[in-house]
């Protein structure tokens, strides 16, 4: 196993303190070292005041979203050597208020989910492709969206206009429209049929690129628009 010293330029900011700045740390890394592990090593060995969000360490909780060399990534699955750069720049996500260092305030993210008054975020979805074990009606699994906010950070429109509903909430809306489970999804379609809803998307597909979980929020936004287009034409022809 080869080891190498890698430089990390980390965004630092403390409330009430100096203006934000990048601080450089040198960390001994090997092939298995992820950016998350390197940051934890910095925290342990060099600067105990560095804070960041992390939990599951395998791209399933979505807490360690940040920008690594400018790209939206989950730090837990980015291996330092695979980046191929001698210096790794680590910054918090875009378009979110920064609490401190790499920690952003997730409230605006969840505000969007609560704004609709409907259970957008589903903890589980039906899985029907497998023969179900006795005693169960159907298999359920957690939804693929891990609420990491990376798509919101990557979205150019979020950078333009903070009142945009955003890719994550729009993708979640589509999940309800696609599979309403007894809910009336028409009000949700009304909600996204607006300037700040799915029509605001400029088809840049940054969200699809950023999503670590294969949700493809961009595709979901387009699905919503197809549904709304059909609805508009139906209304236009009086049906």
């Amino acid at each position: 196993m080869t080891e190498r010293d890698i430089e990390f330029k980390v965004f630092r900011y403390k409330q009430g303190g100096a203006a934000p700045a990048h601080q450089t740390f040198t960390v001994r890394c090997d092939e298995n070292t992820t950016v998350l592990v390197a940051l934890q090593d910095i925290r342990r060995d060099q600067d105990g005041t560095l804070i960041l969000r992390h939990s599951c360490h395998h791209a399933s909780c979505g807490t360690c979203g940040m920008r690594i060399n400018g790209r939206e990534e989950l730090a837990c699955v980015v291996k330092v050597f695979e980046l191929g750069t001698p210096t790794v720049v680590v910054e918090p996500m875009r378009n979110m208020p920064v609490i401190s260092d790499l920690v952003v305030d997730m409230e605006p993210f969840y505000d969007r989910f609560n704004a609709a008054g409907m259970p957008f975020i589903r903890e589980s979805e039906y899985l029907e492709e497998a023969e179900v074990a006795e005693g169960l009606e159907t298999y359920m699994r957690c939804e693929n969206c891990i609420e990491c906010n990376l798509c919101v950070s990557a979205c150019p429109i979020m950078g333009t206009d903070p009142t945009y509903i955003g890719p994550a909430a729009l993708a979640a809306t589509w999940r309800v429209v696609e599979e309403p489970r007894g809910l009336d999804s028409r009000p949700l379609l009304d909600w996204v049929d607006s300037q700040n809803g799915c029509w605001r998307c400029h088809v840049a597909y940054e969200c699809n690129e950023a999503c670590p979980s294969g949700v493809l929020p961009g595709d979901k936004i387009m699905s919503l628009r197809r549904e709304l287009t059909k609805r508009k034409f139906r209304r236009l022809f009086g049906r």
Partner: protein
């Protein structure tokens, strides 16, 4: 660091349009969009110039034919090439955005981009050659 807001209150980013042209780590579709917007601005300006120029027709043959002579000098032809690029690109990407934006073939938007912009580039090269040959 411009797009990071070191505050506990959600505030608006400082420069609304700058984020569009921050291309670090951005996808092809963002570049496609940025180019679409640039060509859109160019074409809008051109559209109104074009309408204004057409008023020369009302001044009779002298005014118009003078303009036609001007438009045939090489510097003007170069502008025509730029315009042609703007038109074919905006058309090709526009078809993609219109289809994808209505949820038609949206899961194949990348291939759509390559095919349409590919066709557009071929049309552009042919058109550009024609402009200079004639």
């Amino acid at each position: 660091m411009d797009n990071i807001q070191p505050t506990t209150d959600p505030v608006r980013p400082k420069a609304p349009l700058r984020s569009w042209f921050d291309v670090r780590g951005r996808s092809l579709s963002t570049l496609a969009f940025a180019l679409n917007r640039l060509t859109a601005i160019g074409l809008t300006i051109y559209l109104f110039l074009h309408l204004a120029v057409l008023s020369l027709l009302l001044r009779g043959p002298e005014g118009w034919d003078q303009f036609v002579a001007l438009a045939k000098n090489p510097a003007f032809l170069l502008l025509d090439v730029v315009l042609l690029f703007g038109v074919v690109y905006h058309m090709a990407n526009g078809i993609r955005v219109a289809l994808v934006g209505m949820g038609v073939a949206h899961t194949r938007q990348k291939s759509l981009f390559y095919v349409l912009v590919g066709i557009a580039l071929v049309a552009f090269v042919v058109g550009a050659v024609l402009i200079f040959v004639e």
